[in-house]
């Protein structure tokens, strides 16, 4: 064990402040916000805790813990979680939600202003998501108490630092960063797809009816009644939810593009985080392609800011040689 009792300075100022005499380098990345809990609420939606493993929550045991790929660019921060090649959850914090945001440019970056995440972030690394969430929530949740948050990163190889402050008490979290692999990119341009934009509350109600003991969820999006149909087959038997029995689709969807009936099966366990996110979202865009790609894009307003949470899930009924 390293001699951390001697190394870590007693007063946090020496390591936290960016302008001290010993710190003449310009910090590669710095972002400050007055409300850590907003960040933690949104980030928690992509954390999949293993309910069977409540005992062994130690961050050393890497096999159990979930890692997140962090991409930092001049337009904001992305946190991306993946499972195999068939699930991706992504949270994007645009720079405007921070009171202060400095990010060194990536000189070779090409920023496509149309996409949510630029092609070439300035910084990219893999990090333990459970530890970030524990740090963000370190002071617990006291009503009317605000915890301020600062992210600091000094470039490749250095730890990702979170500085939290509440009531004059400062917590300094330093998390080891690792090399990140490329994240999945789901391209559905040109494929036949059905899309709907719906009130998240309505969608939450629809998903609330499901039998969660089922391992598979069948989703049907179609231009005819009932427009959206969800079916499960679990311990309680076969269950079907018809979204709309008689009305015009325009009455239940804010907007829609339903071309042909598209039906696919998905692992219900992968859909669960998408459903959980509905509890904090206002509107959700749901997309289902003929090729079996399902995506949810949640619009999450918190305070005066709007956050975006996206999920991509591949159907489990696809032929093995199907590629994206």
């Amino acid at each position: 064990m390293s001699n951390y009792m001697n190394d870590v300075p007693m007063t946090p100022g020496a390591s936290a402040s960016m302008g001290t005499a010993q710190d003449t380098e310009v910090v590669a990345f710095l972002a400050k916000t007055e409300n850590a809990s907003d960040v933690s609420t949104v980030l928690a939606t992509i954390y999949k805790s293993d309910p069977t493993d409540k005992v062994n929550k130690k961050t050393d045991i890497q096999a159990v813990q979930q890692f997140v790929t962090v991409k930092i660019s001049e337009i904001g921060m992305s946190f991306i979680v993946e499972e195999g090649k068939h699930f991706q959850g992504q949270v994007f914090f645009k720079r405007s939600i921070f009171q202060e945001y400095h990010c060194q440019a990536n000189s070779s970056a090409y920023v496509d202003h149309q996409s949510v995440v630029p092609q070439m972030p300035s910084f990219q690394f893999k990090i333990n998501l459970a530890m970030i969430l524990d740090c963000l929530n370190i002071f617990g949740h006291t009503p009317n108490k605000y915890t301020s948050l600062q992210f600091v990163y000094r470039g490749y190889g250095s730890p990702f630092i979170l500085l939290l402050e509440e009531d004059g008490v400062i917590t300094n979290c330093s998390i080891k960063t690792m090399d990140a692999e490329d994240t999945l990119s789901f391209d559905y341009a040109g494929t036949v797809a059905n899309r709907v934009l719906i009130d998240s509350d309505n969608l939450l109600e629809a998903f609330g009816e499901l039998d969660y003991s089922s391992s598979i969820l069948k989703i049907l999006l179609t231009p005819d009644i009932p427009f959206l149909k969800l079916s499960t087959n679990g311990q309680m038997g076969a269950f079907t939810m018809d979204f709309c029995k008689s009305r015009e689709p325009g009455e239940i969807f804010e907007s829609f593009q339903l071309n042909e009936p598209i039906r696919h099966s998905f692992q219900l366990s992968l859909i669960k985080p998408c459903i959980k996110a509905l509890t904090i979202a206002k509107k959700t865009r749901m997309l289902l392609t003929r090729n079996g790609l399902l995506s949810f894009q949640h619009v999450v307003p918190i305070g005066t800011h709007v956050h975006t949470i996206e999920f991509y899930i591949l159907a489990s009924d696809l032929p093995d040689d199907m590629t994206f």
Partner: protein, 274 residues
């Protein structure tokens, strides 16, 4: 040997028991004219944790009667879980509680719980093992000198929130106290570290000595984080002051409840001292 009393403030006593119960082991109860001490020591050979709690009789008992051949002091051992259960059932509604020492072959503590609203009388008995005065003399609170540094701990509930998250990182917690009003808590593993810094805390003046020093003194100790977490449950007692001191091989946490006239002192073993 005689002991009988009407127990008042049973709810407070229950809270105290729920706290000290965090230290595993048999509980020694030492009743004197003025005070009752509850002592639990776990794993003495391995340098385990201890808790010494003292309550003032005038605050918890009415119609107190103690008589014994050894200076009117009585000492015995009991299972704290039994005492907890009796107090839990006795405090579910308004009751008059009488406790007395009794014997029916073996000695036991008898609780007579009379409901003030209904004519129901409940009798609960806890088996005890009497201790002699000589045996009690062997049980001594650790005699420690004035520590180099001490500090009044900040809000325990917030501390508990922090330790709750820190224990996910590591089993060991490093506590650093300085004499310039600073407290630091830290955990570290290969995956990273978390440190929390408090400033502007206060110190207790011990032994009447004025410890104003120009030099900054600092002391660190590594303790088992789960043991420390258990002590933080003290917040449920809303203590007025909680002092923390670092010694050579133990960490002392001393809580005072002024109006209830209760003191609770925990001794936790130190894994590494610096």
């Amino acid at each position: 040997m005689k002991f009988s009393a009407k127990l008042v403030k049973a709810k407070v006593l229950l809270k105290i028991i729920l706290n000290i119960q965090k230290i595993p082991g048999d509980c020694v109860v030492h009743i004197t004219q003025k005070k009752v001490a509850f002592i639990i020591r776990s794993d003495l050979d391995e340098g385990g944790s201890q808790v010494w709690c003292e309550i003032e009789n005038s605050n918890f008992f009415d119609e107190l009667n103690i008589q014994s051949l050894s200076d009117n002091e009585i000492q015995f051992q009991l299972e704290i879980e039994h005492l907890k259960r009796v107090l839990q059932s006795a405090t579910t509604s308004m009751n008059e509680i009488t406790v007395k020492l009794a014997k029916r072959g073996i000695p036991y503590l008898k609780f007579i719980i009379q409901s003030t609203q209904q004519s129901v009388i409940l009798i609960q008995e806890i088996p005890i093992v009497l201790l002699t005065q000589q045996q009690m003399a062997q049980i001594n609170e650790p005699q420690l000198p004035d520590p180099d540094v001490n500090i009044f701990l900040p809000n325990l509930k917030t501390l508990q929130n922090i330790i709750d998250k820190m224990k996910n990182i590591s089993d060991e917690l490093c506590i650093t106290i300085s004499n310039n009003s600073e407290l630091k808590l830290a955990v570290e593993t290969n995956a990273g570290s978390i440190s929390t810094f408090y400033q502007g805390l206060t110190h207790a003046t011990l032994g009447g000595k004025d410890k104003t020093q120009s030099q900054i003194t600092r002391s660190s100790a590594v303790v088992d984080i789960k043991k420390f977490q258990k002590v933080l449950v003290l917040h449920s007692l809303s203590p007025d002051d909680v002092v923390c001191c670092i010694y050579e091989s133990s960490l002392l946490i001393h809580a005072m409840l002024h109006n209830h006239k209760v003191v609770v002192t925990y001794y936790l073993p130190i894994i590494i001292k610096n």
